[in-house]
């Protein structure tokens, strides 16, 4: 699964680079617009170690941000699944909060929390959180009538049991959503680094943009892609393992 992900990423990356180089040679563009293969190679060689550690730094923030957003989405999803006034209030609050674009909120976060780790983490979690919440609310609001009916009749239904039943019955959906949200967590962290941080691969992309250095950006994209593929592959493997364990219970 992991190897397949990496292999697929390589295909996409090579296709993307080939398309750019094709455009470069067809339109006779200079190395300023699209770098030559040799420049890409030398940039990759020169920046390898720096970008590798920066991508790792970004990935570590993305992972923590995703864990936070999964916990938050689970909490809001469980509370928001209720058809009570409070449940609907939580849902409305969550939806409204998401309506503000993160780039508009970023300066406020930046002023309040500075340009360090916490700002990056918060922005990553905020970007990753809402799609997760939508899926979790969807899953948690859908009763599994066949099973829940039995517990309701016998009077043994409690909210914890209800959540467990719905999570178990939708485990496949949940793991897919969580694995998919890794992309958002990574994108969120990069956005955070771009607007409000002095570390990570997003910050390096920002500097490369200032210098109109597409070669550096393409190398940075490679590191982002490869680390994301590894992380997603790992999440999918974890999801499959959990499913196997639950199936034996």
């Amino acid at each position: 699964m992991l190897l397949r992900r990496i292999f697929q990423f390589f295909i996409i990356y090579i296709l993307g680079i080939s398309l750019l180089l094709g455009l470069k040679y067809v339109l006779n563009l200079s190395n300023y617009v699209i770098p030559a293969p040799i420049e890409l190679f030398t940039t990759a060689r020169d920046e390898f170690s720096r970008y590798f550690y920066e991508a790792l730094d970004t990935l570590s923030v993305a992972v923590i941000g995703q864990v936070i957003s999964v916990c938050l989405a689970l909490f809001v999803g469980i509370v928001g699944r209720q058809t009570t006034w409070f449940g609907s209030f939580v849902k409305v609050a969550a939806y409204n909060f998401q309506a503000y674009p993160i780039v508009a909120l970023a300066p406020i976060i930046f002023i309040l929390l500075g340009d360090g780790f916490i700002s990056r983490l918060l922005i990553a979690a905020m970007i990753c959180y809402f799609p997760l919440l939508l899926s979790i609310i969807g899953i948690m609001s859908e009763p599994i009538k066949d099973i829940e009916h039995f517990y309701q009749i016998t009077g043994r239904i409690r909210w914890q049991l209800e959540v467990k039943i719905r999570a178990f019955e939708n485990l496949s959906k949940l793991t897919t959503v969580i694995a998919g949200s890794a992309t958002l967590a990574m994108a969120g962290t990069i956005v955070a680094e771009f607007v409000a941080a002095n570390d990570g691969i997003g910050y390096s992309i920002r500097i490369a943009l200032y210098q109109s250095n597409l070669a550096k950006i393409l190398v940075a994209l490679f590191f982002i892609g490869i680390s994301l593929s590894l992380y997603q592959g790992l999440l999918e493997w974890l999801g499959a393992s959990i499913k196997k364990v639950w199936a034996t219970l």
């Binding site: 300023y32 002023i111 490369a208």
Partner: protein
């Protein structure tokens, strides 16, 4: 005989049609819609560009120019090469980087004679009269930006190592300066500096500005660029463009035209207060036309050569780039 006459008649008609078409095409090359990509958003720094557009300077010269705002994600030189723009504004570091990578770009006029990039500091705390005064200071810098190149050059000239001064990464949020976390903050003298100075004064704080040019660093700022293809194939269009643009700048910066220039600017920049805009325009005049006799658009070749040298010294280009071939002064 009859056949020969018919042939001659046909040849004459074909010649006439070709002549008419050529005349038509040569006229349309002047009136062809062209894009002019600015370096930054609409503000006092581009007053001459929008003045040319609004007051018909381009139309008068037979040109159909659309002036487009720039921004951090825009790169006029790339747009020239991709055919998305015919003219643009780019900073010297952009031009030199592009030249080092083989971009067919040429500089046809230099807008700013004095680089607006300065560092602002509180006068109660310090006075920067010599480079040595930068020691033990926390200096704001946009890593990757041209202020970093300028600052590092100044530090090298003043024998100031990274241990002697702390470099602080800056963005558009000025809080670190307000909160006194940073001693010197990079600003554009004709834009942010005006309202920041006003804000600081309201707070009872006086500021001063550190100008790299006073310490020997002549780093060229914004210039008008076009592609080599454009200047080779349509020299008359390029000439008409530069002439009308410089004329418009001249008019926009004439003190007698101040109200008209402000009025023009207000159509595009709706967020800046009138008093701030007026001062921004005054400062812009000093940066673009430092002396009354200086023609707008004059290219300072020595400053360009020093900029290229700085870029090479700072390892921003793989070697020293010759800028002479890429500079075609057209401003009269």
């Amino acid at each position: 005989m009859k056949t020969l006459r018919r042939f001659l008649q046909k040849a004459a008609w074909s010649g006439l049609v070709t002549l008419c078409l050529t005349a038509l095409l040569s006229t349309s090359s002047l009136a062809e819609p062209l894009n002019y990509r600015l370096k930054w958003l609409f503000n006092a720094s581009v007053v001459g560009d929008i003045y040319a557009d609004v007051h018909g300077y381009f139309t008068e010269a037979g040109l159909d120019i659309t002036v487009k705002p720039g921004g951090p994600e825009r790169d006029a030189i790339k747009e020239l090469e991709l055919g998305q723009a015919s003219f643009g504004v780019a900073s010297a570091d952009q031009v030199i980087r592009a030249l080092s990578k083989g971009a067919p770009v040429v500089v046809i006029a230099q807008i700013f004679q004095v680089n607006p990039l300065h560092w602002m500091y509180r006068t109660e705390n310090m006075s920067i009269t010599q480079l040595n005064d930068l020691k033990n200071k926390i200096i704001g810098v946009t890593f990757g930006g041209n202020d970093e190149i300028i600052l590092r050059t100044l530090m090298a000239m003043g024998n100031i190592s990274e241990e002697d001064a702390t470099l602080f990464s800056v963005r558009y949020d000025y809080n670190p300066f307000y909160q006194r976390k940073v001693d010197l903050w990079p600003v554009y003298l004709n834009s942010q500096a005006v309202f920041l100075k006003k804000k600081m004064a309201e707070n009872g704080e006086a500021v001063s500005f550190f100008n790299p040019a006073d310490h020997g660093v002549q780093f060229v700022s914004n210039s008008v660029v076009t592609s080599r293809k454009m200047i080779t194939e349509h020299p008359e269009v390029v000439n008409a463009f530069v002439t009308s643009l410089c004329k418009a700048w001249e008019a926009a910066l004439t003190p007698d035209n101040m109200d008209k220039a402000i009025e023009t600017l207000q159509q595009f920049d709706k967020d800046t207060a009138l008093d701030v805009m007026t001062e921004q325009l005054e400062v812009t005049r000093r940066l673009i036309k430092p002396t009354p006799e200086m023609a707008i658009g004059t290219i300072d070749l020595k400053a360009w050569q020093q900029t290229a040298q700085i870029m090479a010294d700072q390892k921003q280009t793989p070697s020293l780039i010759s800028v002479t071939d890429a500079i075609i002064p057209l401003a009269k």
